[in-house]
Each structure stands twice: as C-alpha cells, then as structure tokens.
C-alpha cells in the first residue's frame, strides 16, 4: 500500500444544510484505522469518490468527537457532483489528515471570536466544536455568522444549540433582503455586524473564514478594533491534488498551502504574493 | 533584411501597429521576436532558419499579445494559410492585423541548427511548396529565392503506410503514440487549436482519458486530427514542437488528403475560400448514406 491509497470510509449520515450544501458523516471501514485515527482542528483531507477522483475539504468535525469525520461541500465540479449522488451506506475514500492546525494551545486562556460567512462556517465549525467541548480552557467565546439569506445558513441545528448556550455570544445575520418574516437575527453584511458586535481585542484571538469578499471587508474592521495580525487566523483553499507537497500545484510563492497551511494568520497572509 | 526592417520601423513609428511579430537572432538561433519599438526594428531578420509559424500568436487565446495593440505579423506563405484560417473561422478580423508576407525559398527544420538549406535540413513542408510568394498580404517583402531542395519525407512515409495492412498501421501508431506524454505542445503551438476549452480538458464527462497511455494518446491524437480536418494549415509546427518526435504531420496530411479527395479543398491563403467544415453543397459526396 502506498501513501496515495486512501482509507475506505462509509457514509453514515447525510444532512442537507441548504439547498446546495450537504454534510456527510463518514466512518472508517477498517476498525484499526477507526480506532487510531486522530487529527487536529484545521487539518484537511483528500476525500475520494472512486471513479471520479479526489476533492479537498477541511475536516469539518472536531477531534474531540471520536468515531467519525465530517465534510461539508457544494457540488461544483466533477467529484463533488458525484458525491451528491452518493447515499447512506456508500463507500468513499479518505487520505489525511494533512496540513497544519489552528493553534488551540496558544488560544487557550484567551477569548476567541469566530467570524464566518456562508459555507465558510465549515472549517470554523471544527474549531468551534473543539473549543466548546473544552469550554473551560477558553475565556469568552463569540460567534458571528452570516449568509446571503436564511436559506443559505449552514449548520442550522448547531446554530440553535449555540444560541441556547449562556457561555457563547452568538450573532447571526443575513444580507439585507435575505431575511424572512420570522427572522429574529441581525440584518446586515458580516463586516457590518462585526463592527456592531465590536468584540474586544484585549486578550483575544479571531478565527475567520468565508468568501474572499467577506474576508476583504472584515479584516479592516478587526484591525480597526485593534486585533493584531498575529492573532487573526484563517484557512486558505487552493487547487490541490496530492495534498502532501509533491505535485507542485498549491504553492503561493514559496508557501505550500498543503504543508505550511491551510491555517495561516493575517501577518503570514500579508507576506504572501497575490497568487491565491 | 532591410526592406522588412524599414517597413516595421515605419509601422511602429506611425502608430499603425503596436507590435511587429517577426523573427530575431536569439542567443542560440532564430526565434520569434515581438518588436514594440521602432529603434528595435533592426533586430528583425528573415533567414532560412525562420521556421516558426508566427500566425499562432494571433490566436484569440493570446490576450497578452493583443494587449500590445494592433499586430503586424511576418508570414511565409504556409504561415499565411493559418492567418487565413483564423479569419475564415471569425477568430480574427482581417482588418485588425497587418500581414507582411515574405518571399521564401524554404526553411530548415531546426532554427538552432545549421543554417544551410539542404535536402536533409529542410523542413518537411517545404519541398514542392506552391506559396513561396504569399498572397492576400498587406505588404510583400524580400526577393524570391530558388525553390527548396529535397522531397517530403512525410509524403513518402504516408505512401508506405498506405500500402501496409491495417494491423501493421495499428502497430505503427501504437508504437509512435506510446511516446506521447500529453504535454499538449502540439495543441498549444497550433494556430487553429484556439478553443478556449479544449474537448480533452473537459472532465464532465471525461471524453478523452488524460493519462499518457497508448489508449488515451490514441484518442487524443485521432480526435485532434479529426478536429483539424479541413482546417489544418499544414505548417508542421505541431510536429516540430513535439518533444517526443512523433510524426504528427502524417496524421494531419492523411486527413488533409481525404478532405482534398472528398471535397476538392486544400488549405488556402484566401479566407474567402470556404472550408468544407462550414459549407454544404447539394452535390457533396454522400457515400456514407446508402
């Protein structure tokens, strides 16, 4: 067996988060692998649909919850379209975990502010779970999440759970025009709500992920609030094939997203050339 | 060549064009040159090592070349057929390019090799050339040299293959196409391969296996030859570019011959001459419908 051969995983549960975003819960078929598999929040894997190919996704579940891994995806290309045609009980493949992780040890003892937009909540969700499952390690937890419309909000079940918790400050928002009559949350773009929420930078880390345009307008808000670049973390995506630094595809300058990332802080991002 | 250099200088100084694409003496031999300044016009040359088909730089895929402004391109007669092809297929407006024809007596295959034109060094398309003086150009420069020496090796090999059995031809092509690594140099240098999204690059569905095994390579090359039917200008750049020395022009010439036999069409310098792929005549041969 060589390093490009994936482990087999079985689809145990399918959740349609939105009309186009689906979450799969996967369990390793080989009991030894299932037993020993471990990863850190932020790492990614290469998920196979045998016959179609592999696709890169962060592991959307938390390492604190053993026994399964999850991924959330939109059907955009060949592999993801095939993934949508799979059902519970079908077999996929998984190679990983690859890449680096969010620095939870650094964040311990501090406040954490999570900011996400749309499907960008997927990579952030694994960290949120990880933090909430070890709640006592962290101080204040703030989650600011928005999507284009109510229908586009992902992980709706979890949003309800987080809303109910007294040890989490949750802000949910939809873009103006995306609200429904029953909507009780905020209305406004994510950067605007971040300004409104005005999380304190003192003793705080920020974890942010979402569409490029959201990141572009939210970063300056965080900077204005006083968050230093070294404490703002995000995760990058790039076209990948091997996921292990050999195929020469995912580099941004001399930084390999699959090896040096996918988690980077804003200070590291500022050093990167515009190649992603 | 003074005439060419003067012309280029004038076109650039007048602002008629933003770039004159010709050939220069590079560090190892002749190569394409993008002359954007009148003072650099002296670098433009025309020698028997000017084998490159510069018409490929007029392809709509080359937006970075079009950014330089209106283009003037130096062409031999064979290259001009590709210019005409692009115009014929509405990829280029004739008035958007200044065509500088150059009278030619043949070129060598290797622009970095010996400059002497002999039966051994000559590019395969040259022997028997009927467009040594290009037509339908905006300018025509140079003196007409004597015709190129030698015979077309491809034509010879083609007639040998035609005499062999289907099994022998299959073996020949599997052996040749096993060498292919799917670098796609043949496609990228071809002026007529201008599709923004090549069929071979489509993944939904994967019409042609992308892997360089004989099966995938056969599918790729036969498809490309068919897509070039009635369109290929016969410039031979694909074969010259191929790093694995696959005799691609064998395929292209064979297809061109079938097109000529069936529809009386040969690649033409005149864009007004309609190609069979885009035209229908009531008396077109229809043996395939019985």
């Amino acid at each position: 067996m060589n390093l490009y051969q994936p482990h087999r995983v079985e689809i145990k549960e399918i959740t349609d988060e939105t009309v186009d975003t689906r979450t799969l819960r996967l369990e390793f078929k080989d009991p030894e692998v299932a037993q020993s598999f471990n990863f850190k929040a932020g790492q990614f894997g290469e998920y196979s649909v045998f016959g179609a190919g592999e696709s890169t996704f962060c592991i959307a579940s938390s390492p604190t919850r053993q026994g399964y891994i999850e991924c959330s995806f939109k059907a955009v290309g060949k592999v993801t379209k095939m993934m949508r045609s799979l059902g519970v009980g079908d077999t996929m493949g998984f190679r990983g975990p690859y890449g680096n992780a969010f620095p939870l040890d650094k964040m311990a003892g501090h406040n954490v502010v999570f900011i996400a937009g749309g499907i960008g909540l997927a990579p952030v969700r694994c960290v949120i779970w990880n933090v909430l499952d070890q709640r006592e390690r962290f101080k204040d937890v703030t989650i600011i999440y928005g999507a284009r419309s109510v229908g586009d909000l992902v992980y709706k079940r979890e949003l309800e759970e987080w809303a109910k918790r007294s040890d989490v400050k949750l802000w949910q928002t939809v873009d103006p025009g995306g609200e429904t009559p029953e909507w009780k949350g905020e209305i406004g773009f994510v950067p605007t709500i971040v300004e409104k929420a005005a999380p304190s930078p003192a003793d705080s880390f920020a974890v942010i992920c979402g569409p490029p345009i959201m990141i572009k307008f939210t970063m300056p808000v965080l900077t204005k609030l006083g968050f230093p670049n070294e404490r703002i973390y995000t995760t990058l995506e790039n076209r990948m094939k091997c996921g292990i630094g050999k195929c020469g595809r995912c580099n941004v300058g001399s930084v390999y997203v699959c090896k040096d990332g996918p988690v980077f802080n804003a200070a590291q991002l500022a050093e990167l050339p515009p190649e992603y | 060549m003074k005439e060419l250099q003067e012309l280029a200088r004038k076109l650039l100084t007048d602002g008629t064009v933003g770039v004159v694409i010709g050939w220069e003496e590079g560090p190892r031999g002749i190569r394409p040159y993008f002359c954007t300044r009148p003072e650099d016009a002296d670098k433009l040359v025309f020698t028997p090592r000017c084998v490159h088909n510069l018409a490929t730089y007029l392809s709509p895929r080359r937006s970075n070349v079009r950014e330089l402004g209106k283009v003037a391109v130096v062409v031999k007669g064979c290259d001009n057929k590709a210019v005409a092809g692009l115009v014929r297929e509405t990829q280029l407006k004739r008035e958007d390019v200044v065509v500088i024809g150059v009278r030619c007596g043949g070129v060598v295959l290797d622009p970095y090799g010996p400059a002497e034109l002999t039966a051994n060094t000559v590019a395969d398309r040259c022997p028997g050339c009927d467009v040594r003086e290009p037509h339908n150009t905006d300018h025509l420069v140079g003196e007409l040299p004597p015709p190129p020496p030698g015979e077309q090796r491809t034509a010879k090999l083609m007639s040998e293959l035609e005499k062999s059995s289907p099994d022998q031809r299959w073996d020949f092509w599997i052996e040749q196409l096993s060498k292919c690594v799917r670098c796609n140099a043949c496609r990228e240098v071809c002026p007529m391969c201008f599709c923004e999204r090549c069929l071979a690059d489509k993944t939904q569905p994967q019409w042609i296996d992308s892997s360089p095994h004989p099966r995938g390579n056969l599918a790729w090359h036969l498809t490309r030859a068919m897509h070039q039917a009635g369109r290929c200008a016969g410039c031979g750049e694909c074969e010259r570019a191929c790093p694995m020395d696959i005799p691609l022009m064998l395929l292209n010439r064979k297809v061109a011959q079938v097109v000529a036999d069936s529809w009386g069409y040969k690649s033409s310098e005149d864009p007004a001459v309609a190609a069979p792929i885009g035209t229908f005549n009531k008396d077109d041969p229809q043996e395939f419908i019985k």
Binding site: N2, K29, D90, T91, R239, G245, K246 | N64, C183, V189
Partner: protein, 358 residues
C-alpha cells in the same frame, strides 16, 4: 571509494552479464534516425554511450509518465482497493549523463518531504546508477552555473570517465561497491586517475564558458520580483506548451486522476503534468490564481531557482539544456538567468527600482 579500469570491450561484457543475470539494463540507445534515448536494452550491442545527449532524461524510470497508484472495484456499495507493488526488480543505468543522475538525487528531497513516496523510492532502491563523466558538453549545457559540473558524483553509485581504451572507474556508494565486487572479473585494478582528471577538467572548462551566474543572487531577486516586466515579456513568446517540462530531468509536477477500466472498476493514476498548462491551478469555481501565461512563466523559474532551494537547499535545475533545445517559441533559460543575474548584481551596487523587462 574503489578505483578500477574498465575496457570498452568489458563494458559490453558487463552489460551482457547483467542482462543474463536478470537485471534490467537501461542505457543510451541510438534509433534508426540517429537519435539517442535512454532505453531498456535487450543486448549489449545496443549500448551507445557518450554519443549524443539522450533526448529525454532519466525521470521516466523513477516517475513514469503514467503510473497506477491502486485499483478500485465496486462491489455492491462497498469498494475493494487493490494496492500496487512498491518493490521492483533490479535495474542498472549504464552511462547516465551526470546532469540526469544529479536530477534524480535532487528529486529525492521532494519525494521524501515528510511523506515518503514508496513508488519513487521503491524504484530508486532497485536501481544502480553508473554515471558517464560527460563527453557530451555542447553550447546548450550550463551545469556549472547551477552548482553541478560534468564530473559530479551526485546521484551516481559509480562513475566512469572516458580514457584511452575504455573507462576509469570510481565507486561512490555501496551499490557501486557491490557492482564491482559481483562483476569483478570485468574490472582491472588501478585506475587512470591523471587521464580521468584531465578529461573532467576539460569538460568543466567547456561548460563554464556557457553561463556564469550567482544562484544566491538570482534567488534573492526572484523573492522580491513577483511582479516584473520580465514575466510579461517571456509570456509573449511562451506557448504554455509544456515541452520544456516534459524533457526536463527535474520537473516533477503531477496530476492524479481516476479512470475506469471497465464496468465498476478502474485505477487511480499519477500522470506527468506541468505548471505551464492553463488549467494546472484552475479551481472548480473557475478561479485561477495563475490564469495568465506571465504568472506561469514566473512559477517555473521561481520553483526551480527560488522555491525548491528555499525548501530543500538545492536548485531544481541541472543545466542540461534540454528545455532550450525543446522550446518551439525560443525561450532560452540561460538567457533569462543571465538577465536576472545582471539585474541582481546591479541592484547590489545601486538600488534599482526598474524591473528586468522592457
């Protein structure tokens, strides 16, 4: 290091003996048109050492242009995976060009970067490389400019140097030792050191004339010139065709695809790919970080002269000159390096804000 002599005749006998013992012998071979390439030989008579530059490098013997990674078969809603072998039969390369052997050693680093590529190393382990210190230097070579030379031992298990009547032999690794021990009857004791050294010095002098650059300065320039007119200038002539990558001994970028081989079964394959292809970095969403040829030209030069040395301490180029010979658009890498080097030197004496391009 053991020093021996090997006559030309005995080289032929050695090849025959290796073949008889079941070792695959890969050597430069001439075809009917006079072109030379590395090929597995069936008889010793096919060997054509030192006659011309092999058209392709040794890359395909360690990283095949297409390679099966594993097989998959759908069985109801489960999938059976069948692995491929990672051990290979014994092979020897007789008469590798030094730049080609060095390239294999250079590539070991990326294939061992945190994850050990069993397919690459399986082939490496099975192969003994005998380098022929180089009688094929021409005006396209520039190995001395990229920290290699015609006498390099990099990547070699044994080196043979042309001398009168045959070769001066030097073992480099245990594999080389094992070779001269097992086939001792073909080697005679004592080498022709002086003659060999003269040969090597002459070859080196020949290459040094072709290009002289400071690779550290080139790297520093590349680190600070992500944007530059040079990349746009190169992109005019560059077809993005990938012929350079195909013949290059160190270009190793690859693609991974699934292919069916019948109903409900297939393979996952690793295929040669090139950063020069338009869709190399194309996302499914349509976003392409290197969507223009200027970016792709920059990537190739940077990967070889800035990124790889930064990560692994060695250049991803051995100066073989094949890219120059293969390029249909007239790209000349030594020219690019010379220009970058000149700009880098000028920047050291006076801070220059202008780039290298027109």
């Amino acid at each position: 290091m053991t020093v021996k002599t090997l006559t030309t005749e005995n080289l032929s006998h050695l090849a025959a003996a290796l073949l008889a013992d079941g070792t695959e012998v890969i050597a430069p071979v001439k075809d009917s048109s006079g072109k030379v390439d590395y090929r597995a030989v069936k008889q010793a008579a096919e060997l054509a050492l030192g006659e011309a530059l092999p058209r392709k490098s040794l890359k395909e013997f360690f990283l095949p242009q297409t390679e099966c990674l594993f097989y998959f078969k759908q069985v109801k809603n489960d999938v059976e995976l069948t692995p491929v072998p990672t051990t290979f039969g014994p092979r020897i390369v007789l008469g590798a060009k030094p730049c080609d052997a060095a390239a294999v050693d250079i590539l070991d680093r990326v294939f061992d970067w945190d994850y050990h590529d069993e397919l690459w190393f399986g082939r490496r382990q099975a192969t003994t490389i005998v380098t022929l210190a180089c009688p094929m230097v021409d005006e396209f070579c520039f190995c001395t400019a990229v920290d290699i030379e015609p006498a390099t031992r990099q990547g070699a298990d044994m080196v043979i140097v042309p001398v009168a009547g045959g070769y001066h032999v030097e073992t480099v690794t245990e594999k080389g030792e094992a070779l001269v021990t097992k086939y001792a009857k073909y080697f005679s004791d004592g080498g022709k050191q002086a003659e060999a050294d003269t040969f090597r010095a002459e070859a080196k002098a020949k290459v040094e004339k072709n290009l002289g650059i400071n690779t550290k300065d080139v790297r520093a320039w590349l680190e600070t010139h992500f944007e530059d007119g040079l990349w746009h200038e190169l992109a005019w002539r560059c077809h993005g065709c990938g012929a350079c990558a195909a013949v290059c001994p160190t270009c190793h970028c690859f693609d991974i695809v699934d292919e069916s081989e019948g109903v409900n079964q297939g393979t996952r394959r690793r295929n040669w790919d090139t950063c020069q292809a338009g869709k190399f970095t194309l996302h499914a969403s349509g976003h392409n970080p290197r969507g223009e040829q200027c970016n792709r030209c920059r990537q190739r030069v940077s990967h070889k002269f800035m990124i790889y040395p930064e990560r692994f301490g060695v250049l991803l180029c051995t100066g073989c000159g094949r890219c120059v010979r293969a390029c249909p658009g007239g790209m000349v890498l030594p020219e690019v390096l010379r220009r970058v080097n000149a700009a880098a030197q000028a920047a050291k004496t006076e801070p220059v804000t202008e780039g290298v391009g027109q």
